[in-house]
């Protein structure tokens, strides 16, 4: 078993952006100072998480017990491999998003920027809380905080459409939250503990099969809303009404990845592979994931709004991870977990591009993008890289997660899933590559007078696109993402 040591670093990593929120709120009148707090917090947060990487690779887990309620129930942060993995993705990409946000907000001259940056900081705090949650109760608390913190971001524009999207988001997420709470209480009653353990805590427990199945449904509904599992997904396309940086980080990286992170935690650390297989739960999950992948890709084909198209694409790719969890084979699980990081980097690039296009030319629809590649070659170039990665073309990192998922489905003896992944790749190409084609290979007079979007936006998106390429060539560069993913998979399946 791994070594657990007491450390305050997880707590600092979670709280640093809360402190920044105070700074942001008081510097509302001085934009540059206000933005400084965000960037400073982002860098410190990422640094703190990075400092946990060596210990985690050596098998040591940093733990910080916040409060002990009674034996077995407490609030604790534990930076295990999975937590550090997710935290790296979220906090690292926050830095890029913050730079991008500054560019976006100022170019668009958006109102209520203080509220925006403050909510972002709180949302990232909650995300890291989710990542480092050591047990179900802590997880639920930060999960709910995440919903609350992201609400002001969704309704940012304050139009009727935004308010409606916000209400739907709240309705879905709060319902999921109470279900999770009930599930947590139920688990405590059944298993006597709510701590996350690789291999699950329901392992040797005496419980009726129907109770286990019911419990599973409660949890899937609880995490499934944020994870975009159909039919709980409809809040996501509607949330695209938010400003693009919000869509990019939260609805491609932080919020939705918290959902799939939750799915893997539930499958691997609460129920465990044996219980899942015993009751056929992984089959149910696979069916849900498969249906989501298929239908979301089909619906994406029909969307003209670029952001909505990307939203449905996100829903599909989230279910790649869910499917990986359902496969419960070494390669499959590795692929699914690794896909969390690869998809995050690629999708955030695509959303950044969509935002840059919108801010610069006010175009939102795919049909209006003919010839834009001439005017914004860097942006569309990055978009191309990201799209190719999502389709699964080497050497971009998306290829590798997909490769492992396909291997995993063969390992599990489910060739249909392999066919599904291949089909999904083709559908991805069908709904993403036309944008590239239109941009570079069609001509139009419309964009003749435009040049590239402001550097504050273009630099982050080119960097993330380059990152997708570089991490594809060297999967373990800097952050050992692949090693972490396979380590986590091993940890879950070994026990």
């Amino acid at each position: 078993m791994s070594d657990v040591f007491q450390s305050n670093i997880p707590l600092w990593a979670v709280s640093i952006s809360l402190l920044a929120t105070l700074g942001i709120l008081v510097s509302g009148r001085k934009p540059n100072l206000r933005e400084f707090w965000t960037l400073l917090a982002g860098l410190i947060k990422f640094g703190l998480v990075l400092s946990l990487l060596p210990s985690v690779r050596a098998g040591k887990i940093a733990e910080c017990v916040l409060l002990q309620v009674s034996p077995g129930i407490g609030l604790s942060l534990r930076a295990d491999e999975f937590g550090v993995f997710f935290a790296l993705v979220a906090s690292g990409l926050w830095i890029f998003t913050s730079i991008y946000s500054i560019g976006y907000m100022r170019s668009n001259q958006e109102l209520k920027q203080t509220r925006y940056f403050a909510s972002f900081a709180v949302a990232l705090s909650a995300t890291l809380g989710v990542a480092f949650a050591g047990n179900l109760l802590t997880f639920v608390i930060f999960y709910e905080m995440l919903t609350l913190a992201t609400y002001p971001l969704v309704i940012h524009k304050e139009t009727g459409e935004a308010l409606r999207a916000g209400r739907q988001y709240l309705a879905y997420s709060l319902t999921a939250g109470v279900l999770l709470l009930a599930g947590t209480a139920w688990i405590y009653n059944t298993a006597g503990t709510i701590e996350f353990q690789p291999g699950g805590i329901l392992g040797g427990v005496e419980a009726a099969p129907n109770a286990i199945r019911c419990l599973f449904f409660v949890f899937v509904a609880g995490v499934g809303v944020k994870a975009g599992i159909m039919p709980l997904h409809s809040w996501l396309p509607n949330a695209m009404v938010a400003p693009t940086p919000v869509s990019a980080l939260l609805h491609a990286v932080a919020v939705v990845k918290s959902g799939v992170f939750g799915v893997v935690r539930v499958v691997g650390f609460v129920f465990g592979p044996e219980v899942m297989a015993e009751h056929g739960l992984n089959l149910i999950l696979a069916v849900l994931a498969g249906a989501t992948v298929l239908f979301s890709s089909l619906i994406a084909l029909q969307q003209d709004s670029l952001k909505r198209r990307l939203a449905y694409s996100t829903i599909g790719h989230l279910s790649y991870t869910v499917m990986g969890a359902a496969l419960l084979t070494p390669e499959g699980l590795t692929g699914g977990i690794y896909h969390i990081s690869t998809h995050a980097v690629m999708k955030i690039t695509l959303f950044f591009c969509a935002g840059a296009i919108y801010v610069h030319t006010h175009k939102q629809n795919v049909s209006e993008l003919d010839g834009i590649g001439r005017a914004m070659p860097w942006t569309i170039g990055a978009f191309t890289l990201g799209s190719l990665g999502l389709v699964g073309i080497p050497p971009i990192n998306g290829f590798f997660s997909k490769w492992f998922l396909c291997l995993g489905s063969l390992q599990a003896g489910w060739p249909m899933v392999l066919a599904l992944f291949i089909l999904s790749g083709l559908l991805n190409a069908a709904y993403l590559l036309p944008v590239v084609y239109r941009g570079f290979f069609r001509k139009s007079e419309e964009f003749a007078k435009f040049d590239e979007a402001p550097p504050l936006m273009v630099v982050p998106l080119c960097t993330t696109a380059a990152l997708a390429l570089v991490l594809g060539l060297f999967p373990n560069l800097f952050f050992d993402f692949f090693e972490l993913a396979s380590g986590i998979s091993e940890m879950i399946l070994a026990s």
Partner: protein, 504 residues
């Protein structure tokens, strides 16, 4: 000071204040507010001292006039009483501090009777908390009821009528209690709680005893606004003055719930009330019904105070549900919720008083973005209290709901679990509707009330927040929610765990 005297001081300070106010008012007009706040402050300090004493030293017992129980009246300050008395006194203090300008505006010329009766009310409620004798409890119950009738009657035109209705129902309730007490006395021969505990543990249950308990429960349930005996509450809270509501809503009904807890878990053997006749179970299910009823009706309201009143019916249901579980978790949940709700509702009613004071109305349909522009701090306080009511972490409300859910799951009572979850979502509906209005709704959208746009009355076109004496208590209560939430583990472990009666 000899520790036992502390116990009698707690209600005595408030009663002295209540008596002094009319006298001092004659001598020097306008000092009622000051005397009231001073008495409340001293009283609050004494309750805190009591809590400290009890936490370290154990239960304090005081024999009034030196007469020994069971003939004499005994006042007992045990961990439960000490804890609730601190809650009572501090919320009352904050409300009284807040009341200065409210009373000047809503009830000109009636400051003296209001403060006098308010102190009587708080003193009597504290008396209920610390008494160790069931008949003494009745006396304090009646004092508090009479004080509350008078307080509630001081309001707008409809206030006397709703107060009168409460008077009738309340007197019925108190009479039931007395009748029930008579049966208990007849069966056991004693009125002292500690004595009764000994007697009852050796006694078999008999029809008079059971009838007595049912009557007591019904009487107290009426005071508690337990469904379906809650009919008096919405009108009474809506039409009374803001201070009266803010005093009675957070603490009045809670103390009635305390009486039930004291009788069912401390005087009787805990197993008795759930085993022999399912009294606690009945209370639990009535509470569940009240939760749903209150939450659903709250959504339909257009007046803020009325919405909060129905919400209160729902919240009392949570406490009743906790009692109904009759388990340690349920007990913790019920006590924690008493405190949390007192602070939350206190804050919310103070907020509605602030709105009434600056905007002139508490009509939900007329709230819009300008409300927040004019009164940002009050709006912030409202938001914090609302989020706590819905049960969102890290605010206090989340933790009491967590214990109740845990308790319900432990007892495999899925109905209770479902009710708690559904009501959280229902309260999200009516609170987020208000939050949305205050933060996001532009004034021009309401065609019926176009004059709200921009708030022409503000001289600097911006802030028009209420005065510090009104704002400070509101914000103190709102931040207390955050503090109570973060400290809830310490509170449960250090303060509530010692209270749990043996055998639960």
């Amino acid at each position: 000071m000899n520790p036992p005297h502390l116990v009698i001081l707690i209600p005595l300070i408030f009663f002295s204040g209540a008596l002094l106010i009319p006298l001092l008012e004659r001598w020097r007009h306008g000092c009622a507010y000051g005397v009231a706040v001073a008495s409340a402050a001293v009283g609050a300090l004494v309750t805190v001292a009591g809590l400290v004493e009890v936490s370290s030293g154990g239960t304090l017992r005081y024999q009034v006039s030196g007469w020994a129980p069971p003939i004499g009246i005994e006042l007992v300050l045990d961990p439960l009483s000490a804890f609730l008395s601190v809650m009572l006194a501090s919320v009352a203090l904050l409300v009284l501090v807040h009341s200065g300008s409210v009373v000047r505006r809503e009830l000109p010329g009636k400051a003296m009777p209001l403060y006098s009766t308010a102190l009587l009310l708080v003193g009597a409620l504290l008396g209920i908390t610390i008494t160790g004798d069931l008949f003494n409890l009745y006396v304090f119950l009646e004092i508090s009821s009479l004080a509350s009738y008078a307080l509630l009657a001081l309001g707008d035109r409809k206030a006397p009528v709703s107060a009168f209705r409460y008077l009738i129902l309340g007197t019925v309730g108190a009479s039931f209690y007395l009748l029930g007490l008579g049966f208990v006395f007849m069966t056991t021969g004693s009125l002292n709680m500690a004595d009764l505990k000994l007697i009852l543990s050796n006694l078999e249950s008999s029809p008079p005893l059971l009838v007595g308990l049912v009557l007591i429960t019904t009487g107290v349930g009426l005071k508690m606004a337990l469904f379906p005996m809650h009919g008096w509450l919405p009108d009474a809270y809506t039409y009374a003055s803001s201070t009266a509501t803010a005093l009675i809503a957070p603490i009045g009904t809670k103390i009635a719930a305390y009486v039930l807890i004291r009788i069912f878990f401390f005087v009787l053997d805990p197993g008795f009330a759930s085993g022999e006749i399912p009294l606690t179970t009945a209370i639990g299910y009535l509470g569940a019904a009240g939760i749903l009823w209150g939450s659903i009706l709250a959504i339909a309201q257009t007046d803020l105070k009325r919405m909060l009143a129905y919400s209160s019916v729902g919240q009392i249901g949570y406490i009743a549900l906790g009692i109904g579980l009759a388990s340690p978790m349920g007990f913790i949940g019920a006590i924690l919720h008493m405190v949390n709700h007192a602070v939350m509702k206190g804050c919310l009613f103070l907020v509605s008083a602030n709105f009434l004071s600056r905007l002139g109305h508490a009509d939900i349909r007329r709230f819009n973005d300008s409300t927040r522009v004019h009164m940002p701090w009050t709006a912030a306080g409202f938001t914090m209290a609302a989020l706590s009511m819905i049960g969102l972490p890290p605010f206090a409300g989340f933790f009491s709901k967590w214990y109740l859910i845990l308790g319900s799951v432990e007892e495999s009572n899925w109905v209770f679990v479902a009710v708690i979850l559904i009501s959280s979502l229902l309260s999200a509906v009516y609170f987020f509707r208000l939050i949305e209005r205050i933060y996001l709704r532009s004034p021009g959208r309401d065609s019926k009330y176009p004059d709200e746009a921009g708030g022409a009355a503000a001289p600097d076109g911006g802030r028009e927040e209420v005065s510090a004496s009104m704002l400070a208590p509101t914000l103190i209560l709102a931040s207390a929610l955050l503090v109570l939430g973060l400290l809830n583990v310490w509170i449960v472990n250090r303060l509530i765990q010692p209270m749990i009666p043996a055998g639960l």
